[in-house]
Amino acid sequence: MTDHIITPAIESRPVAFTQAEIGWTPWLEPLAEDDLTEAHLVGLVEASRAKSPYFRLLVRDPAVLEARTKTDKDIFYNTRTGLPRAERELAATAASRSNGCIFCASVHSRFASHHSKRGDDVQKLLDEGVETDLGERWNAIVAASVALTATPPTFGDDHIERLSAAGLDELEIADVIHGAAFFNWANRLMLSLGEPTPAVQ
């Protein structure tokens, strides 16, 4: 079969930032689940990811997907030391809000709300944007993530000083940097290889 794009017909496509469980559909053909080889399964890292059209599309380059997935997991899940998970997810949400990735922002705002128990503040970030007031510590994390997301990045010494004044140590500041930087990887894939679909009612 020759390579072709997919133009999905989507009724009531998501047009606003939301914490609801919206979906995502690809613009290029993912591999079929039945066609996945051992090398593909290694690239997927977790067998359950074979259900996701996003990962079955990315697994066309399995070595990159494997390293990307392991980078992602360590940046967000390795929380024995360093920044709490909630604030890593806040950095991810702020980057996604700034880049305009409705799908990524939905997933990571849910995680930020769940881990912080500050769902209203997270919603405020989605509704009002990255300039909204969430209290100084969160404001500092959002501002740093947004500055790092700009192209060219505008992240500077003032952002480091503000994070430090808000109580973050060096390791925690490095975690903010990694969380925001990683979403400049994820947002680009999610926004350019497909689009969000409405939440299943």
Binding site: I5, V15, L65, T149, P152, A174, S192
Partner: protein
């Protein structure tokens, strides 16, 4: 896995063994190792599949140039510069980077409540001279790269069709998208950790 390639983030962020930032990265060994493996998977892959090494180096140089990161641009462009056969590409890339400058992120949201946040910016097309020199496939890749770097929310199936029309395969587009997105990540880690390292050195002085 053994490799002679140094850790690229440490190299470009100026993180020295035993420094405070080195100790911080040591606390995230998996992040450090997998970011490096991502680099190797893209720039020293076991198989090149549908994207040549020269195309990979040219596109990464373009990404670094659009981010105005001279050291990272130098890093990616140097293998082209050192190759007699590919050296011509460097001047073409520099000219295209000069013509492709912008400030992002901008672009349009799907029509609705976010439309008030729509921000306009340049839509980059490779120059005629650049297109003649680079050929359709690489020219189309640079145009798509500019979209991914600066105005990601303008992405569309049509943009992917333009790549297919220029000779890209679905597998190749996945690798291209990963490459641009990975370098966008890598640049931000280098920029962020580089500043953090400098600030730690000042604090210790």
């Amino acid at each position: 896995m053994t490799t002679s390639t140094p850790d690229i983030i440490d190299l470009l962020a100026g993180i020295k063994p035993g420094s405070s930032l080195d100790r911080i990265r040591t606390q995230r060994p998996e992040t450090r190792e997998q970011a490096q493996k991502s680099y190797l998977a893209l720039f020293e892959p076991a198989t090149l599949s549908d994207v040549s090494l020269v195309e990979r180096q040219a596109i990464a140089s373009f990404v670094a140039g659009l981010h105005r990161q001279p050291d990272i641009f130098e890093f990616y462009v140097s293998p082209l510069e050192e190759s007699e056969k590919n050296r011509w590409l460097v001047e073409v890339l520099k000219a295209e980077i000069g013509a492709a400058q912008a400030v992002g992120p901008y672009g349009r949201y799907p029509a609705g409540p976010l439309s008030i946040e729509d921000a306009s910016g340049p839509i980059y097309r490779v120059s005629d001279a650049g297109r003649d020199a680079l050929g359709e496939k690489l020219a189309a890749a640079l145009e798509h790269t500019h979209l991914l770097v600066f105005h990601l929310r303008d992405a569309s199936p049509k943009a992917l069709q333009a790549l297919l029309d220029a000779g890209w395969t679905t597998d190749g587009i996945v690798t291209l998208s990963q490459l641009v997105s990975f370098v966008a990540f890598q640049i931000r880690v280098i920029a962020g950790l580089g500043l953090l390292a400098a600030s730690a050195r000042r604090a210790a002085a």
